[in-house]
Symmetry: C2
Subunit: 156 residues, 2 copies
Amino acid sequence: MRMGQGVEWALHCCLNLAWVGDAVPGARLAGFYDLPPAYLNKQLQALVRAGVCESVPGPRGGFRLARPADEVSLLDVVVAVEGPEDAFRCTSILGAAPGGDPSLDYSGHCAISLSMRSAELAWRRELAGRSLAEVAADVVRTAPDAPQHVRAALAP
Amino acid sequence: MRMGQGVEWALHCCLNLAWVGDAVPGARLAGFYDLPPAYLNKQLQALVRAGVCESVPGPRGGFRLARPADEVSLLDVVVAVEGPEDAFRCTSILGAAPGGDPSLDYSGHCAISLSMRSAELAWRRELAGRSLAEVAADVVRTAPDAPQHVRAALAP
DNA sequence: GGGGGGCTACTCGGATAGCCCCTGTCCGAGTTGTATCGG
DNA sequence: CCGATACAACTCGGACAGGGGCTATCCGAGTAGCCCCCC
């Protein structure tokens, strides 16, 4: 099981956008971390589609958070980039077994599927319970001048 | 983020092996769920390599659990098939940012990496806390004759 | 000098190739059970 | 009739192609600012 690279990029970018508070072009964010600009742009587009970020076209444009940082959870960002479907996919394998009905959907009855879903729910709950603002506060606790540095490097 | 199909197959097969208690050929397990025999064999080999199952070569051979069902957790099976590495990979992106050291490993300091690891830990803890025996008990609670059916279909 | 129009530069947005891992398959090494042959 | 031996069938194990999704890139649509020209 491997998570896409874009998730890490999106999380760091959202954190920076929370500190800047203004629209930042994708190219500048890419230059900040030395990332492929066009590909990072793709991830930011996904964030816009999910309603996490807003985009401003034209000069002086860029991306900014669509909501306050304490209303954006890590799960929101992960789902925006990776998609909403679960990692474990129950293919109703029991329908092919002797005594099973191939036309039935066992994802809600199969004990294995339920256990796996329960575990993923714990993962989602953990991510949903941590907001960008909380993560930002953690960063400030160890590096108090991080917001200032980011703003100086990303603000026009 | 997508989990491999083999995980579902491996979990169901391990549950059945727990009920049969004897060595079952991979081809018979594949026929039980109408799965590609050679590919399922690949997953079972992974379980053997991880020490979850044992293999017996030759006629009357097959696969059986290497430990009692209450000592095999769902996490053991998932890790055996999917590999031990985490889904979220911190690439120390902060090392490329201004003021960062590219030679440093930030996976233990970066607040985002720590949050993601914490969430995955919750997922792993959930899976590690549920054993095959518990899942089997859940199945018996709703379908009391499932073990007998499986034994009849898989035992020689 | 003030206002309007055109132009340029810059931004996002979607459409387009390349590569790696999951999926699916095949054949060989090893072992057990059996049938046969000899004593 | 009993035992040893050769054979055959069945099993796992690792090596070999094919496809889908992540990675990476490019170019077009649209807009804000600016410069120039005209009144």
